[in-house]
Every structure is written in structure tokens, then in C-alpha cells.
């Protein structure tokens, strides 16, 4: 077994175990942290496939930003596990259906030679100096520029909608405007009065 396989099996083991712990951990904060570990190991496996841009973007976006905010919320919430468990039997059919679908998909991927995998040949081994980042950038901004821009517009609309839905103007708030505070001059606060000296 060469060095790369050792790394692959290490990351895969960590990934599988961490993913298992995400759904079995009793504490939601622990579950979220195991999800972080799962993302990180997935990034490692992608790195082995020469997809360094995707691997780093996964760590940067999901581990560095999304999961931080996720943890932020999960830590604040007082989650009652007993109440969540109550719905277990009513949700089971839906969950089982999705589980079976995933198992079927896995069978099709792993037993690829029975399902016409030969139509999708393995990509050629990359040569020295190949840059995944450059290649992705070239494709995104030439061949797929319209779908890419469309996707970004959809995301922008979703973002604006999320802000518009949650932004409420409350009345009678004593909010302070830092911009106005920073712009204050001495004359706005202090008045110097010239007085004649008095004698008692």
C-alpha cells in the first residue's frame, strides 16, 4: 500500500466515523463539531483527487464560515432532545425511503461495471504543473459564464429576501447611530462662554 492510499484510508475512516457521530451524538454542539470534522476530512479526500480549489473552498466556506454561524446558533438554543425524539416514528417512513434511495445510488456507483460505467472513462492522470484553480476559473468564466451568473443572481435574490424577511423596524428603540457619534465636533458638545471675573 503506497503512502497515498494510507492517507486516503485515514481520511475515509475519520469521515465515516465523524458522520456516524453527527447523527448519534446526544449533544447538538458535539454533533455540529463532528460535522465540521466530516467536512474537513472530505476536503482532505478531494485534495487527494487534485481538486485543491474545491477542497480549500469546502474548508473555507463550510468549516470557516457556515459551521461557525451554525455553532453560534446551536450553542444559544436550549434544545430539548426528548421533544425531538417524539416525532421519530412518524418521520421514519420518509427517512427510510431516502435511506433506501441512497443505498441504491451507492450500489450503482460501487457496482459501476454492471451499469455502464465504461461510458465514463477515468480521467487521465494530470501532468506536472496542472492547476485545478486555473482550469475551474477558465471554465466558469468562458463556457459556463451564463449559468454561473444566473446562479449568482439566484443566490443574491435569496440573500436579499432573507434580509427583507427578518428585518423589522421596532418603534421606540433607543438605538444610537455610530456614524453620527463619530462625526461629532467639539462645538456640538461644548460652549465656551466668556465671563467677566467676579469678586465676592
Amino acid at each position: 500500500m503506497d503512502f497515498q492510499s494510507v492517507i486516503f484510508y485515514f481520511f475515509s475512516t475519520v469521515l465515516v466515523l465523524a458522520s456516524l457521530r453527527v447523527i448519534t451524538a446526544r449533544n447538538p454542539v458535539h454533533a455540529a463539531l463532528f460535522l465540521v470534522l466530516a467536512f474537513f476530512s472530505a476536503g482532505g479526500i478531494w485534495m487527494l483527487l487534485h481538486a485543491e480549489f474545491l477542497a480549500i473552498a469546502l474548508v473555507m466556506v463550510y468549516v470557516g464560515a457556515v459551521m461557525v454561524l451554525f455553532l453560534f446558533v446551536v450553542m444559544m438554543l436550549d434544545i430539548n432532545l426528548e421533544r425531538i425524539r417524539q416525532g421519530f416514528w412518524s418521520y421514519l417512513p420518509v427517512g427510510a425511503l431516502i435511506g433506501v434511495l441512497m443505498v441504491v445510488e451507492m450500489i450503482m456507483v460501487l457496482g459501476g461495471r454492471y451499469f455502464g460505467l465504461d461510458a465514463m472513462p477515468q480521467p487521465a492522470e494530470v501532468e506536472q504543473g496542472y492547476s485545478n484553480t486555473k482550469e475551474l476559473g477558465r471554465l466558469l468564466y468562458t463556457e459556463y459564464v451564463y449559468p454561473f451568473e444566473l446562479a449568482s443572481i439566484v443566490l443574491l435574490v435569496a440573500m436579499v429576501a432573507a434580509v427583507a424577511l427578518t428585518l423589522r423596524k421596532r418603534k421606540n428603540v433607543k438605538i444610537i447611530d455610530p456614524a453620527a457619534q463619530v462625526a461629532v465636533k467639539r462645538d456640538d458638545r461644548v460652549r465656551i462662554v466668556s465671563m467677566r471675573a467676579e469678586k465676592e
Partner: protein, 349 residues
């Protein structure tokens, strides 16, 4: 040099690349820890002189052994785990605070070719690694099972995520004009230009054409490392010491090491991305590691200077500066630089 390495390489055989990488890692980490130790002394001395005090002067000549004494003291102290703490995470917290700060050094070039991993996506790697840093603080804050620590962790999460965006956009400007994500190439591209042709290399470094981004990166770097005046995460006067309040002994020392290693990292990166790295400022002096060391020390001095000068920002002011000032400014400057590169006035042909 090669004559010495050759027999050792044959001795280790196929394991040699692993051993050689380990040696390089030790070669970076050991001096780094020494720098961290003496940076704490420098901080106390510099702030002392700025406040017309002497600073530590009891241990060793002129207080030079003070950091060693501090280290020994912290090593010998007991680590107390609070009874309500989440034990595993309580230990993982400080480790995660220090780990990324050390991992990031693997792509930092110290001089031409002096780098552990000369990766093409070096800048992306740095962005990813520095974005993991926040976990140490959040996990420590939550696992301590203390309200003060938790408030510190929540503040850290919000502050570091906010300033990362501005930092990222500032870096986008840098990589646009040097058209590379490799840190060595970014430094090399700063050695070319009209200033360098005249023998005044410092005029063609990135700080001049990207001056607003240089300032944004420097200030975001201070906010990212939770240093004064953005140190509400620690906030001694309101939440005692934030995420570190329940930690003692070596666990506390790990947070300290992480914070100072991060400071040195941000300073080194500012020097590499905006101040020409190991390039010499004038044509008649040779390039070399000493220039990077000098530039990094200067930025570190700025960190200490700011701490001694400015009062702590109020929390809403920090958020306003990050979201309403820096992010629009950097977004605007990305467009300006893009137009500038394509225009006939471009400096980077």
C-alpha cells in the same frame, strides 16, 4: 551543504522525504516559539516605555530571561478542569487555537526558495487555515460552561467571521495584480516595475497602488487576532478574560502562544503581500531574509504601538467598521483594480 545531506539521506533511504520535511518543520517552529517568547517581553517593554515605566527588569540582565521564567511557571501550574465543563472539548479548545497558527507557516516563503510547501494555491490555503482559527476560541468558550467564557466565544465568532470577508477581498486585489496564488510568485511580481527599474524597489511594492487595501488588511489583521483596540473577545474589564477565564497553566499558555504566533503570522503576511517580502527596498542592497524579518518586526511594533495608544472599541463600532466601512470599500476597490488592470494606465503588464 549537499555533501553533508547526501550520507544522511542514504541512511534514511525511502523515509528521507518525510524526515527532511520534519526537520524543516522543526526548523520553523523552534525559532517561532522563541520569537513568541521574546515578543511577549518586547510587548511589555515597549508598552512600558510608552507609559514612562521600565517594564520587567528583574529576571536576568535587563529582564531578558523574563519569558523563560514565565514559561517555566506556566508549565508547573496545575490545569484545573471545571466540574461542569465538557472535558474533551475543554482540552481540544487550546490545541485548536494554536494548531492553525502553526500550520499556516507551511506555505510562508522566508526568502527565495526558502519555503516548506511551495504550493500553487498558497494564498487559498492560508485563507482556509486562518478561517479555522476561530474554532479554538468558540470551543473553549462553550466547553468552559461559564457565562463570561461563552460571551467571549460568541463575540469571537461574530468578529472573526466579519473581518475575514474584508481580508479576503483585500487579498483578491493582491492576487489580481500579481495573477498568482503562489506566495513566492506574489513577492517576485513586486520586484518588477518602474520603481524597481530606477533602483527604488519599495515604490513598486503592492502597498503603493493598493494603499487602501494595505490599511484594510492591517486593521483587519489586528481585529482577526483579537488584539487591542479590537480585543472585546478578551475584554478584561467586562468579561474578565473571555474564553480563557477558566483556563490555567499550560492550557492557558497555549492560547497565549496561539495569539502571538498569529500576530507574527499576520505581520509576516502583510510584509509578504504588501511590503515586498524578502526584497530589498533599494537597488544597491542585496535581497534576503533579513528584510522580511525587519518588515515583520516593524508591523509587530505597530501592533504594540496601537495597543498602547487606542482605547478599546465598543462592540457595535467594531461591527460597523467591518461590515459598513471595510466590506463596501474593498468591494469598490476590487472593481477599481479590475478596471485599472485592463486600462492603458496599467502598471502590471
Amino acid at each position: 551543504m549537499d555533501a553533508f545531506i547526501e550520507p544522511v539521506a542514504t541512511f534514511f533511504g525511502s523515509a528521507w522525504p518525510l524526515v527532511w520535511s520534519l526537520l524543516k518543520i522543526i526548523g520553523i517552529i523552534a525559532p517561532l516559539f522563541l520569537c513568541v517568547a521574546y515578543l511577549t517581553l518586547a510587548e511589555r517593554k515597549v508598552i512600558g516605555y510608552m507609559q514612562v515605566r521600565i517594564g520587567p527588569n528583574r529576571v536576568g540582565p535587563r529582564g531578558l530571561l523574563q519569558p523563560i521564567a514565565d514559561g517555566v511557571k506556566l508549565l508547573l501550574k496545575e490545569i484545573i478542569v471545571p466540574s461542569g465543563a465538557s472535558k474533551g472539548l475543554f482540552i481540544v479548545g487550546p490545541v485548536l487555537a494554536l494548531g492553525p497558527a502553526l500550520a499556516a507557516w507551511s506555505v510562508v516563503p522566508f526568502s527565495d526558495g526558502w519555503v516548506v510547501g511551495n504550493v500553487d494555491a498558497g494564498l487559498l490555503f492560508l485563507l482556509a487555515v486562518t478561517s479555522i482559527e476561530v474554532y479554538g476560541v468558540i470551543i473553549a468558550g462553550w466547553a468552559s460552561n461559564s457565562k463570561y467564557a461563552f460571551l467571549g466565544g460568541v463575540r469571537a465568532a461574530a468578529q472573526m467571521v466579519s473581518y475575514e470577508i474584508a481580508m479576503g477581498f483585500a487579498l483578491v486585489c493582491v492576487l489580481m495584480i500579481s495573477s498568482s496564488l503562489n506566495l513566492s510568485d506574489i513577492v517576485a511580481s513586486q520586484g518588477k516595475g518602474q520603481g524597481a527599474d530606477l533602483g527604488l524597489g519599495f515604490l513598486s511594492w503592492n502597498w503603493l497602488p493598493l494603499f487602501p487595501m494595505f490599511i484594510v488588511y492591517l486593521i483587519s489583521g489586528i481585529a482577526e487576532t483579537n488584539r487591542a483596540p479590537f480585543d472585546v473577545v478578551e475584554g478584561e474589564s467586562e468579561i474578565v478574560a473571555g474564553h480563557m477565564v477558566e483556563y490555567s497553566g499550560m492550557a492557558f499558555a497555549l492560547f497565549f502562544l496561539g495569539e502571538y504566533a498569529n500576530m507574527i503570522l499576520v505581520s509576516a503576511l502583510t510584509s509578504i503581500l504588501f511590503l515586498g517580502g524578502w526584497l530589498s527596498p533599494v537597488g544597491f542592497l542585496p535581497d534576503g531574509f533579513v528584510w522580511l524579518a525587519l518588515k515583520t518586526s516593524f508591523i509587530l511594533f505597530l501592533f504594540l504601538w496601537f495597543r498602547a495608544t487606542f482605547p478599546r472599541f465598543r462592540y457595535d463600532h467594531i461591527m460597523r467598521l467591518g461590515w459598513k466601512v471595510f466590506i463596501p470599500l474593498t468591494l469598490f476597490w476590487v472593481v477599481v483594480v479590475a478596471v485599472w488592470i485592463m486600462s492603458p494606465l496599467s502598471l502590471w503588464k
